[in-house]
């Protein structure tokens, strides 16, 4: 491995198989843009997701967290690095060779309105992966779809309705049901609860946690919302400009943050308690862009393990 070994020293409970489900090693993605500039969206990212655990990836616009998700699920091809899923290297597999592996990982997107075909019943949408992978058909398929609807807290009769007949929260449940159809081991949630109202958001998060407990799912939870991440994650990776600047168990990141960016991010979160109001200096910093001109490249962040499983990007001493 060329990246730093970021194996957690305390694996999540409830996992019998101790080999990690996903290992991402030194992953890079560079997009060429106009004027021979490049966007270094993901830079030398190494991480792993254990069985039954939720690894959250947090960061702000342009930090590369969504690109990372798209790379892992092979919707984008990486510029460099390896992705190993359940012991198999899937980095260079063709679309056809990917197919058996696709069953093991599914993605849920932010916008439940855009991710369902308005002209198809939601039952068809949820059954589609089963049909595509020829897992079930006929009555068996219908029964499995009905079970999935019940599993995500909807009723089996709902399968006959169309997306517009559901609220945003229900639609996100349907998207989750679709993601679960092939009984995947990894579900990537790309800002999956960001568009929902808080009360609905809390319900969907509870559902995700219940499903994890029942099915032993692993989540890669991509989010910009630190308060949500604190609630749902076992471990957290903080991304900044395409690189991981801090990674560790949730309590380490939230209670003992070491990197200056992690601290800034945490301090910026508004606290729903008027007695803990921040008094912040008036800053006008901007989030720097991951766009680099010809011949330029970002400086690589080296990670150091400060306590077991807690990795922190080494910063220049003047910082």
């Amino acid at each position: 491995m060329t990246g730093v070994d970021t194996t957690p020293s305390t694996p999540a409970s409830g996992a019998e198989d101790r080999t990690p489900l996903v290992v991402v090693d030194d992953l890079c993605k560079v997009f060429p843009v106009a004027d021979r500039a490049k966007i270094h969206a993901v830079e030398h990212v190494s991480l792993q997701v254990d069985r039954g655990e939720t690894l959250a990836v947090v960061g702000e616009s342009g930090c590369g967290k969504s690109t990372l998700a798209h790379l892992i699920i092979r919707l984008l091809d990486p510029t460099g690095g390896r992705i190993v899923l359940d012991g198999a290297d899937i980095t260079d597999l063709s679309a056809r060779a990917m197919r058996p592996h696709r069953q093991k990982m599914q993605i849920v997107f932010q916008d439940p309105f855009a991710s369902l075909d308005p002209r198809r019943t939601v039952g068809r949408a949820v059954g589609e992966p089963l049909r595509v992978h020829k897992v079930a058909s006929g009555n068996e398929l219908e029964e499995r779809v009905a079970n999935l609807f019940e599993r995500v807290g909807l009723e089996r009769q709902h399968a006959r309705q169309f997306p517009h007949q559901f609220s945003g929260g229900q639609r996100q449940r349907i998207c989750i049901a679709r993601a679960l159809a092939l009984e995947p081991e990894l579900v990537i949630a790309d800002e999956a609860v960001s568009a929902l109202d808080v009360s609905i958001q809390a319900q969907v998060i509870n559902l995700m946690m219940d499903l994890q407990a029942e099915m032993g799912l692993s989540y890669l939870f991509i989010s910009h919302d630190l308060a949500v991440v604190e609630r749902i994650s076992h471990r957290v990776a903080v991304m900044y400009l395409g690189q991981i600047v801090e990674l560790g168990p949730r309590s380490a990141i939230f209670e003992n943050p070491q990197h200056s960016y992690t601290k800034r991010l945490l301090e910026a979160v508004p606290i729903a308690d008027p007695r803990r109001r921040h008094h912040r200096p008036l800053l006008t910093d901007e989030i720097p862009s991951p766009r680099w001109g010809p011949g330029e490249a970002p400086e690589r962040v080296e990670l150091a393990e400060v306590e077991p499983g807690h990795f922190v990007g080494v910063e220049a001493p003047t910082g």
Binding site: F31, V33, A34, A41, S66, T67
Partner: protein, 292 residues
């Protein structure tokens, strides 16, 4: 708040220098532009460089180009110089197209903007009005107008303008409908701008790119229309135009191909140039293709 950094991240960006750069990179569009300037040059400077009156009988009728004593493009059924006709016929055609375009834009944009901006009853009434003009058989209507009034360049332009404005009105309306709910329009209201100001200074500049493209294409259509009317004998018989030349010589096409082909080619090149320019502008204004 997704942050997939794709090169085609779409955003409202003022079309200007970027669009022009994109346009110049498009070979077909540049070819169209060169063709158009070629036609303009021929029309304005041609008569000075090739000093031949298109109405003069210069030789025997039906002299094929290349035969002895024939002008470069031969002669027509009266023995007039076809090349002189092609050079001098363009000004009528282009003038008619230009006046028609001005009319089309003026009527189409005004009606489309009001309908799209106000919506409701205003929209319903204006769109019924537009549909009325749209379902009229265009050529027939233009023929009626030209026949009722004297067939001059002005009447013909007006006739063409009257039948071709609805498409631009519909496009303008669609653009205004799309733009009127954007936040910067709300913001303009929130600072107390008047409707007129919002229509003309806030929404209109943002609707320009597709309107420019469409105007270019509609000019091509206007030229074809003018030619069509002249061909049917409804042009101004005293003013030479490409369409009139084709109309007058159409009976001789089989035995004297050059009398019809050269003015036809002139129309073809002009319409093609507008079409290529229009396509080029369309691509240049498309933010998804920009920055490649």
């Amino acid at each position: 708040m997704t942050d997939v950094m794709m090169p085609d991240q779409q955003e409202l960006v003022p079309a200007g220098r970027d669009a022009w750069r994109m346009f110049l990179r498009n070979r077909a569009a540049v070819a169209g532009l060169i063709m158009f300037f070629g036609i303009l040059f021929m029309t304005f400077f041609g008569p000075m460089l090739y000093d031949e009156d298109p109405n003069d009988i210069v030789a025997r009728p039906f002299l094929e180009p290349g035969t002895e004593g024939a002008p470069a493009m031969g002669t027509d059924y009266l023995g007039r110089d076809v090349l002189a006709g092609v050079i001098n016929g363009g000004s009528t055609t282009l003038t008619v197209a230009a006046i028609a375009a001005v009319m089309i834009v003026a009527i189409g944009v005004t009606i489309g903007a009001l309908a799209g901006f106000y919506g409701g009853t205003v929209d319903t009434v204006l769109m019924r009005f537009t549909e009325f003009f749209q379902v009229l058989p265009a050529l027939l209507f233009a023929m009626v107008v030209v026949t009722l009034f004297e067939p001059s360049a002005r009447t013909i332009s007006i006739a063409i303008g009257l039948v071709l404005w609805p498409s631009l009105a519909r496009l303008t309306r669609a653009e205004f409908l799309r733009l009127r709910n954007l936040e910067f329009v709300k913001a303009a209201r929130a600072i107390g701008s008047t409707d007129l100001r919002i229509i003309s200074r806030v929404i209109f500049p943002n609707a320009l790119p597709p309107l420019i493209v469409s105007t270019t294409l509609v000019m091509g259509a206007a030229i074809l229309f003018e030619a069509g009317l002249a061909f049917l004998g409804l042009g101004d018989p005293n003013t030479l135009s490409w369409g009139l030349m084709i109309g007058l010589n159409r009976g001789n096409f089989l035995n004297a191909w050059w009398t019809v082909t050269f003015p036809g080619l002139a129309i073809f090149i002009t319409v093609l140039s507008f079409s290529l320019i229009g396509d080029g502008l369309q691509d240049a204004f498309n933010p998804k293709l920009r920055g490649r």
